[in-house]
Amino acid sequence: MWKSLIRTITPLSKTTNCLLSAETSIQQQLRTTFILKRRINPPLSKKGGPPKKLRTRNYLYELVKDTNCDKQANIDLILTSYVDGLGNVGDRVSVKSYQAYDQLLLPGLAVYATPENLEKYKDVEVKDMKVYSSSTALGVMQVLSKITLSVVMNKDSPWTIQPWHISASFRKCCYMVPEYAISIPEKPIKGPNLDIEGKEFYITVTINKTEQFKVRCRIHHWSTNIRERLPYEEGFWKVPGELLFPEDEEIAKAQSQNK
C-alpha cells in the first residue's frame, strides 16, 4: 500500500503546477486490496464465552488474490462523435479499459455510460452514418492501405501486368484477394524493363463488392537464374519509392497522411 501511495504522491510534490492536470492525482484510486487466507485457523471459542486469544501462528496468511494484477473489465461508454470501427454519436459501446481511456475518453470522443449521460445522449441526431459491409472490412482496409505489395515479375520473359499477377502476389504475402476484387491501372504496365524496377503504382481493391481502397504495389524483377537476380533490398517497404505514373501523386499524398 505504501508503495502505491508513494507512487501517487511523489509527482505531486515534484510538480508545483498540479492544477494543470485534469484531476487531482490524490483522488486516483489505489488498488491495494489483497485477498488473504489464514494459514492456521484460530481456535473455536466456547458458546457464549469470550473469544480465544489469537496466537502468533494465526497471523500467518496465504495470498489468495492480488487485485492489482486482475484483468480489467471492459468499460461502458457513450460515443460523443463518430469513431471508425466502433460506432456513431450516441452509441453505447463496451471497450477494453486501456483503449477506452487512451483513445476515447482522453481525446473526448466518448463519455462514461452513467445514468445522466444516458439520458443526455438518448435522442441525438445521427448524421452521415457510415456503414461497412462487415465488421472486419475497415480493419482490412486499414492494413492493406498501409502495406507495399511487392509484385515479383520475371526479368527475362515478357509480361503485362494482369489482375491475377496481383492476386498471386497478395496470396504470397498471406492476404486473400480474389481476382475480381482487383482493378489495375488503365495504362498497361509492360516488362521486363529495368527502368521501372522498384517503381510504384496503385491498384484498387474492392471488399465485398462495396468498399474501395488503394493499395501501393512495387515492381520487382526476379530471374530464375540465381546469378542474374537483383540483390535483395532489406526492408524495401520502409523506403518510399518513385511513382510509375506521376498522376498518382495525389493518392500517394493522401495515403502518407493516413499513416
Binding site: S133, A168, R171, W222
Partner: protein, 342 residues
C-alpha cells in the same frame, strides 16, 4: 633364478643354509623397469577439458520449450466471411486439388517465376502416436505405386530372381537391370556379380529356398512380402519400384508424435487430374501404415512447389477409404468397381 644365484656364488653356502628364501641380487634391475612399474602404480588422470558451447545453444531445454509446436491446430480460429481477408486471423483455406495446382501454376508462370515444370510436392503431416501412449510409430520408407509416371530423377537399379525363364523375361521387359536364376545366385556367391550396384532386389517365391544363403549379403534388402519385393507378379513389382513415389516418414527429433512425409507427386506441367490421382495413391499408401488405434493418422496435407514458399492445404479425407464393417459389406455386394475413392 635362485638356482642361477647359487651357481654363480657356490662359496656362499653358509648364507644359503640360513636364509634360503631371501632373494638376493647384486646386479641392477633392467633399465627402465622401475619407471615402468611406477607408471603402472600412478593412475593416469585424464583431464576433461570443458568443451565450449556457443551461447545460443547453452540452455537447450529452454530453447526447445520455446520452439513453436509443429502440430498446427487452427480449428479455434474463425472461418473468413469477407472476400478480402488477412489469412493469419482465419482458418486455413482448404483448396480443391485442381485449384491448389492452378495457384502454383500462377506463381510458376513464365511471367513470374518462369518454372512451369517445377516439381509438385505433397507434404503429409502424420500423427505418429502408436497403439500405446508411450509408443510411437517407427520411421518408415516405402514406394507407392502411382498411375501416372513422371521423371523422378533417382537411379533405381533392380535385380530380379526367378527359376522360370518367362518370369525373368517379364521382369527384364518391365525395366529390371538384371534377372537370373540359380546361376546368378552362384555368380553372386563367387563375387562375379556385386549386389552393391542394385538398389532393389526382387524375387519370385519359387526361388526363395535357393536365395536363403544370400541373406547375409543382402541383409535388410532381402526380398520379403511386407516390403513388396517378394511377389508372384514381378512385372508389377518392377513397375512400382521403377516409377513409384519413393518416400520416407520421419518423426521429429523432439516432437516424437509428429511425423512428416515430403514426396514429389509430379510436375506442374502434368494434367491436374493425373496429379490428383498420383496424390491419392500416395495418401492411400501412407494410410496403410496407420497403427491400430482410434483417431486420425494423417493430420494435414499441404501442396508445395519450390521455389515458391506457398503451401496449399488440401483435403486428404476424400482419397481415403473408410474401413467400417458395414460399408465394406455393402461394397462387396455392389462389386469391386465402386470402391475407388476418386
Amino acid at each position: 633364478m635362485f638356482s642361477i644365484v647359487s651357481k654363480l656364488r657356490p662359496n656362499n653356502s653358509f648364507f644359503s643354509l640360513t636364509k634360503t628364501f631371501i632373494p638376493e641380487r647384486n646386479y641392477a634391475a633392467r633399465k627402465g623397469t622401475r619407471e615402468r612399474k611406477q607408471k603402472k602404480k600412478t593412475k593416469k588422470e585424464v583431464e576433461v577439458k570443458a568443451k565450449f558451447i556457443p551461447h545460443n545453444q547453452r540452455n537447450k531445454d529452454a530453447l526447445l520449450a520455446a520452439r513453436p509446436i509443429l502440430k498446427v491446430d487452427d480449428s479455434a480460429r474463425p472461418l473468413p466471411f469477407d472476400d478480402v481477408y488477412i489469412m493469419k486471423y482465419y482458418r486455413w483455406k482448404v483448396y480443391p486439388f485442381h485449384e491448389a495446382v492452378e495457384s502454383h501454376r500462377q506463381t510458376h508462370h513464365p511471367d513470374m517465376y518462369n518454372e512451369p515444370n517445377s516439381h509438385l510436392l505433397a507434404r503429409i503431416e502424420l500423427n505418429m502416436q502408436g497403439e500405446k501412449a508411450t509408443r510411437f510409430v517407427e520411421d518408415f520408407s516405402r514406394i507407392a505405386a502411382i498411375p501416372h509416371k513422371f521423371e523422378h530423377g533417382d537411379e533405381r537399379a533392380i535385380i530380379a530372381f526367378s527359376k522360370t525363364a518367362s518370369v525373368r523375361q517379364e521382369a527384364l521387359d518391365a525395366g529390371a537391370q538384371l534377372a537370373g536364376g540359380v546361376d546368378l545366385i552362384k555368380q553372386i556367391q563367387n563375387g562375379g556379380v556385386s549386389l552393391q550396384n542394385f538398389q532393389y532386389i526382387i524375387a519370385h517365391p519359387d526361388i526363395l529356398p535357393e536365395l536363403v544363403p544370400l541373406r547375409g549379403v543382402m541383409k535388410r534388402r532381402f526380398p520379403n512380402p511386407k516390403m513388396g519385393t517378394l511377389a508372384v507378379d514381378l512385372t508389377g513389382v518392377t513397375e512400382r519400384l521403377l516409377h513409384g513415389i519413393s518416400y520416407s516418414a520421419k518423426k521429429d527429433e523432439h516432437e516424437k508424435d509428429f511425423g512428416l512425409v515430403e514426396a514429389v507427386v509430379g510436375t506442374l506441367d502434368m494434367d491436374s487430374r493425373c496429379l490428383e490421382e498420383n496424390f491419392a495413391a500416395l495418401v492411400q499408401d501412407v494410410y496403410r501404415m496407420k497403427p491400430k488405434r482410434e483417431g486420425t493418422f494423417i493430420s494435414r496435407c499441404l501442396l508445395v512447389s519450390p521455389p515458391s514458399s506457398e503451401k496449399f492445404k488440401v483435403d486428404h479425407e476424400l482419397y481415403i477409404e473408410v474401413k467400417d464393417d458395414n460399408t465394406q459389406k455393402d461394397v462387396e455386394d455392389d462389386g469391386e468397381g465402386e470402391r475407388v475413392a476418386l
